[in-house]
């Protein structure tokens, strides 16, 4: 779909991080883990739309939210958006998260802005009666984005920030391991950190859940046309091949990706 949306709200959560709510004029059947290419400018500098995950899906209002971090020219321009402004939206794109059929408990593991797609997932899981446990990591307590919102739909929330003394020799996935030792997770989802992704991949073996990672890559088209957004993925046979984050992903089985 290629549509003009309208800003219904924008607010800065902490300096450099914004939550943007957009209204779309048509039914927009997106799933958590999918993303949209968004362009909020008419100039050719910046040129291309930028990819953003759905942070919150509000189909009954015809709206969705994204949570974004200011990185360069595109996101800088987005901070100037205010209610009523028009943005171009291509989406929903990509495969989205899968919640295994009959799952009873899942975990989300995220660092920093990697939280963005996780709220939508946790909200959907909770709505479907699936228990959610959240494991959040960030540089500082302040940068535990959407912490409160996630807590609301999580049975338990574990946080570890770099400024805590125990963060010296621990990752938030160590906390996951401790919980997993006595509680069965059907699936674990990770986003926002290579280290955490690798950790989840190794815990997958040990605890037998299905692990998924939401990948990032620079994108131009978002739809498989430009062949730009590759990541390396191992096939069943162990052979590595390029896959396209936009079309084959952005969500991949965590044991398959080469990170």
């Amino acid at each position: 779909m290629w549509i003009k949306g309208r800003v219904t709200d924008q607010s800065s959560i902490v300096p450099g991080y914004y939550r943007l709510r957009l209204r779309v004029p048509v039914a927009f059947g997106a799933r958590p883990g999918q993303f949209a290419m968004i362009r909020a400018w008419d100039t050719y500098d910046p040129l291309l739309p930028r990819p953003f995950s759905f942070h919150r899906l509000l189909p009954e209002k015809g709206e969705f939210e994204i949570l974004y971090k200011v990185r360069g020219r595109g996101t800088e321009l987005m901070t100037r958006l205010s209610t009523g402004d028009e943005v171009y939206i291509r989406g929903p794109l990509g495969n989205g998260f899968e919640i295994p059929h009959g799952a009873e408990r899942i975990a989300v593991v995220a660092r920093g802005i990697g939280i963005a797609p996780m709220l939508a997932l946790a909200e959907e899981a909770a709505k479907g009666g699936v228990e959610v446990q959240s494991f959040l990591s960030a540089k500082t307590r302040e940068l535990l984005l959407a912490h409160a919102e996630l807590e609301k739909v999580s049975a338990e929330t574990f946080v570890l920030t770099d400024d805590m003394p125990e963060a010296k020799d621990r990752l938030v996935t160590d906390m996951l391991a401790e919980v997993a030792a006595h509680k069965k997770f059907d699936a674990v989802y990770v986003c926002g950190s290579r280290r955490l992704t690798r950790a989840v991949a190794s815990l997958e073996m040990e605890y037998g859940f299905r692990g998924y990672v939401a990948m990032e890559s620079h994108m131009a088209c978002g739809t498989g046309a430009c062949k730009g957004c590759i990541c390396k993925v191992r096939g069943e046979d162990g052979e590595e091949a390029y896959k396209y984050v936009c079309k084959d992903g952005p969500v991949f089985p965590v044991r398959r990706v080469v990170v």
Partner: protein
């Protein structure tokens, strides 16, 4: 206002309108089909295909620069067999002219791929030669070396009865000469321009940004260069030109036609606005109608034809 007939004749090739995607920038995906009926395009142009399966370049493959995109995708390809078995039947469903772009590491590879596609003349309307990939034995791109250019086009000419579109690289001193060689060697149509070679460096890592170090620059940044090359070439070489390079709206497309392009292709702009090709078709039609022209060919090269009067 006169009735406008958008049909264009490109040598042996007839298109229902002069607007098509640039090779490598458009796919026949489900997402795309939902957006609009691809039969509304003047032609469908497929991503360059090679003889064997190739992975393409390492990441990162894309880097946005000011008003342009650097791409170092390379030519990832499933190979010609997969193309013929899987991709072609799908593309053949689209009710418009199909142009297949072919590429290779050697003159022989180009010829072989052309020969393998010849039996599919019913579905494929023309072959476009992506001459910008570097030749393996000589290390320079086919399109920047006079001998390689001639040899490749000649070899393909001998291997197929399909119309040949030679795609020129802008990275040359004398584009008119290269176009002339392509024509002499048997090309029916010229397409231009492919990307300008560029690069970017990350000042923090102090390394080239792209996995392949250098990449191809396209988008609005290259439009003035593309226009100038088409202006020069169309006045000297008497085969039709498909113009491309930064076309982002109908006005741009009309500039290219006034400069001497008989048809236009759109690359990066479709990433910005996936409906842009339809807008360009409509925009050309209303420009023609509004200015008293009955068909696209009446404005081709007008910027120099009218000057000469």
């Amino acid at each position: 206002m006169p009735d406008v007939d958008l049909t264009v004749q490109l040598g042996p090739l007839t298109l229902k309108n002069p607007v098509m995607p640039a090779s490598g920038t458009f796919e026949y995906s489900e997402e795309q089909r939902e957006l609009f009926d691809l039969a509304r395009l003047g032609a469908m142009v497929a991503k360059s295909v090679t003889l064997k399966r190739r992975p393409g370049n390492p990441a990162p493959r894309l880097h946005e620069v000011t008003a342009g995109l650097l791409n170092a995708v390379g030519i990832p390809s499933e190979g010609i067999h997969h193309f013929i078995e899987v991709t072609l039947p799908a593309l053949a469903q689209i009710d418009t002219t199909l142009i297949v772009s072919i590429a290779g590491d050697s003159v022989e590879e180009f010829a072989t791929v052309a020969r393998m596609l010849d039996p599919y003349r019913g579905q494929v309307s023309a072959l476009e030669l992506n001459l910008s990939c570097p030749n393996l034995t000589h290390g320079v791109p086919f399109a920047t070396d006079e001998k390689l250019m001639r040899a490749t086009v000649e070899a393909v000419r001998e291997s197929t009865t399909l119309p040949i579109i030679a795609k020129l690289s802008p990275n040359v001193t004398d584009i008119v000469k290269m176009a002339g060689i392509a024509r002499e060697a048997g090309a029916d149509i010229i397409s231009m321009i492919n990307t300008l070679i560029g690069m970017a460096i990350d000042v923090e890592t102090r390394r080239p940004v792209l996995g392949n170090v250098v990449g191809g620059l396209s988008g609005p940044a290259i439009k003035p260069v593309a226009l100038r090359m088409i202006w020069e070439t169309s006045q000297s070489v008497d085969i039709p030109i498909i113009g491309m390079g930064g076309i982002s709206n109908a006005r741009d497309a009309i500039e290219f036609m006034l400069a001497g392009a008989s048809a236009v292709a759109v690359g990066v702009a479709s990433f910005r606005n996936p409906l842009v090709m339809l807008e360009i078709v409509d925009g050309i039609e209303s420009y023609l109608a509004g200015h008293g022209f009955g068909s696209p060919k009446e404005i081709v090269g007008l910027a120099w034809k009218e000057r000469m009067v």
